[in-house]
């Protein structure tokens, strides 16, 4: 064995290496697949689109529309909302549109799949209705998420008297999901770079990555809490309530009022 600090002989020679065929191709395939999924899950900061209402109004109207969509027995209500969702989606940038389509279509297909037994016993209209409702509700939620910066979204919650603790938790969760997504990508990349052969103990390697993330998540949470305490945090998390309504908000509120009236009429309530 060479002494301390000496470059060993094997390090000064060229490394002969022929990759071993690995049928499961563990790290180079599955880690990259996980990485690709993580990239999809990674939250980005939504940007307001043209004709956007302010965050609190957007949240309130989206919630109202989702409730009305769920309560509706007349398919016309869902179809009107579907038309609205599709028009709004058409105004999204290309990448946001791709994410919108992927998530909304997945939710609709899952709902239709769950309702498949109903279709098999002749209730196909119910299965279609359920799929459409899922598409509309998910579409509405996605449009809010894609067109509202995260900070505005949680700030907007203040307008609805959501407790400080809940807003703190959401803010920190959003931050940590993004940070942990980055950490996971880096660790999986490191695993991929060194996974040049057959891994005899696949679960141990994957467990190592998960363990690393757990330790980092725990440290990040402790650091954030300490940093908050250093800046005087004693349990109160005051965020400025963003409730300045503008002309755009008035137009949106009027449009929603019109839709609500139509809902009441179509449901034979008035």
């Amino acid at each position: 064995m060479p002494g301390h600090g000496d470059i060993p002989g094997w390090l000064a020679k060229p490394q002969s290496f022929e990759p071993i065929h690995d049928r499961s191709a563990f790290a180079t395939r599955s880690a990259l697949s996980v990485t690709a999924v993580l990239r999809q899950l990674r939250l980005d900061d939504g940007r307001p689109s043209r004709f956007s209402a302010s965050a609190p109004v957007k949240l309130a109207l989206a919630l109202g529309a989702i409730i009305l969509n769920s309560l509706a027995t007349n398919l016309m209500v869902t179809l009107v909302l579907l038309a609205f969702v599709l028009v709004r989606a058409a105004l999204l940038p290309r990448r946001a549109l791709a994410r919108f389509a992927a998530v909304a279509a997945s939710a609709a297909m899952l709902a239709a799949l769950l309702a498949l037994p109903a279709a098999l016993i002749g209730q196909s209209a119910s299965a279609i209705r359920l799929g459409l409702k899922a598409l509309v509700s998910t579409g509405l939620a996605m449009e809010v998420a894609l067109t509202t910066p995260a900070a505005e979204l949680t700030g907007g919650l203040r307008a609805f008297r959501v407790p400080n603790l809940a807003i703190t938790t959401i803010d920190l969760a959003l931050k940590n999901i993004v940070l942990l997504g980055d950490c996971a990508l880096e660790t999986l990349t490191a695993l991929t770079l060194r996974s040049v052969g057959r891994d005899a103990d696949k679960s141990a390697s994957l467990g190592g990555v998960a363990g690393t993330l757990l330790v980092r998540a725990s440290r990040a949470a402790a650091d954030t809490y300490d940093a908050m305490r250093c800046r005087g945090f004693e349990g109160d998390y005051d965020r400025e309530a963003q409730v300045r309504l503008g002309a755009d908000d008035a137009v949106w509120i009027a449009a929603f009022a019109l839709f609500a009236t139509m809902f009441l009429h179509l449901e034979d309530i008035i």
């Binding site: 060479p2 470059i7 060993p8 490394q15 290496f17 071993i20 180079t28 060194r194």
Partner: protein, 251 residues
């Protein structure tokens, strides 16, 4: 595309000798994250045994260039060749080709935490050699040698996440070193280290260079660059030693 066996294709230089043929060659390389261009028409050639220091402001594309060299990102225009073989999204779909490249180019991350995932330091260092199919005797020898080389024998059975920043950096280097790659990419190697560890690491990189290894180092540290660089690669609007051999890229 033709896959050449590393041992046949690359004459690993010894004692600081520099090969005449480029080991790393980027030609008109362009890469953008989403719609943000990061590498613009980069042309760069690094010969085996050279030490190139990348210098540039934050966001000038240094880390992305290192990722490109390791085959982690792919050109949207232009080409990257490692030892004559084109590294592209298509060629990296071939698992054997990707593994060969990853065995020949080591990447030492700026954040050592991201690089360490095994339960002990010894397992961490043994991971790469075991992946390469080396015998257990050879794996054991490499672990012992690497621990001695980096003066971290006392850490052998410790869990990586319990180590200090400087110790983690040594372990991160050890786990790449044990695979004996031809080229090493260091991303900000001195960042976050105390002066004692910085001095040690600078000396270690000099020995690695003297052993004939190809080094590509992204750093903001002028003294490290001054001590190690055969030539500089200034990125973006950065200007450094105009009297030393250098190229400007990504302007």
């Amino acid at each position: 595309m033709a896959h050449t066996h590393p041992a046949e294709a690359l004459h690993t230089p010894h004692e600081g000798a520099v090969s005449e043929t480029p080991l790393i060659s980027l030609d008109d390389y362009c890469f953008a994250y989403d719609d943000t261009p990061v590498l613009r028409h980069v042309a760069l050639e690094v010969r085996a045994g050279e030490c190139v220091v990348l210098m540039g402001d934050n966001g000038s594309g240094k880390s992305t260039l290192l990722k490109a060299i390791c085959g982690l990102v792919f050109p949207q225009r232009g080409a990257y060749r490692f030892d004559g073989s084109e590294v592209s999204e298509r060629s990296m779909r071939d698992a054997s080709f990707a593994k060969r490249l990853h065995a020949r180019v080591g990447f030492i991350f700026q954040d050592s935490d991201a690089q360490l995932f095994c339960p002990s330091v010894a397992d961490e260092i043994a991971f790469g050699p075991r992946q390469m199919g080396l015998s257990e005797a050879e794996v054991s020898r490499r672990v012992d040698d690497t621990l001695a080389l980096l003066d971290i024998e006392a850490l052998r059975d410790r869990a990586p996440w319990t180590l200090s920043g400087g110790e983690k950096k040594r372990v991160a280097i050890a786990c790449v070193l044990s695979m004996n790659p031809d080229a090493y990419c260091f991303d900000e190697p001195l960042a976050g280290l105390d002066s004692k560890t910085q001095t040690w690491l600078t000396g270690f990189l000099k020995r690695l260079k003297a052993a004939g290894k190809t080094l590509v180092i992204a750093t903001h540290d002028q003294s490290l660059a001054d001590e190690l660089a055969d030539w500089f690669c200034y990125m973006g609007e950065f200007h450094g030693y105009e009297d030393r051999p250098h190229v400007h890229i990504n302007g």
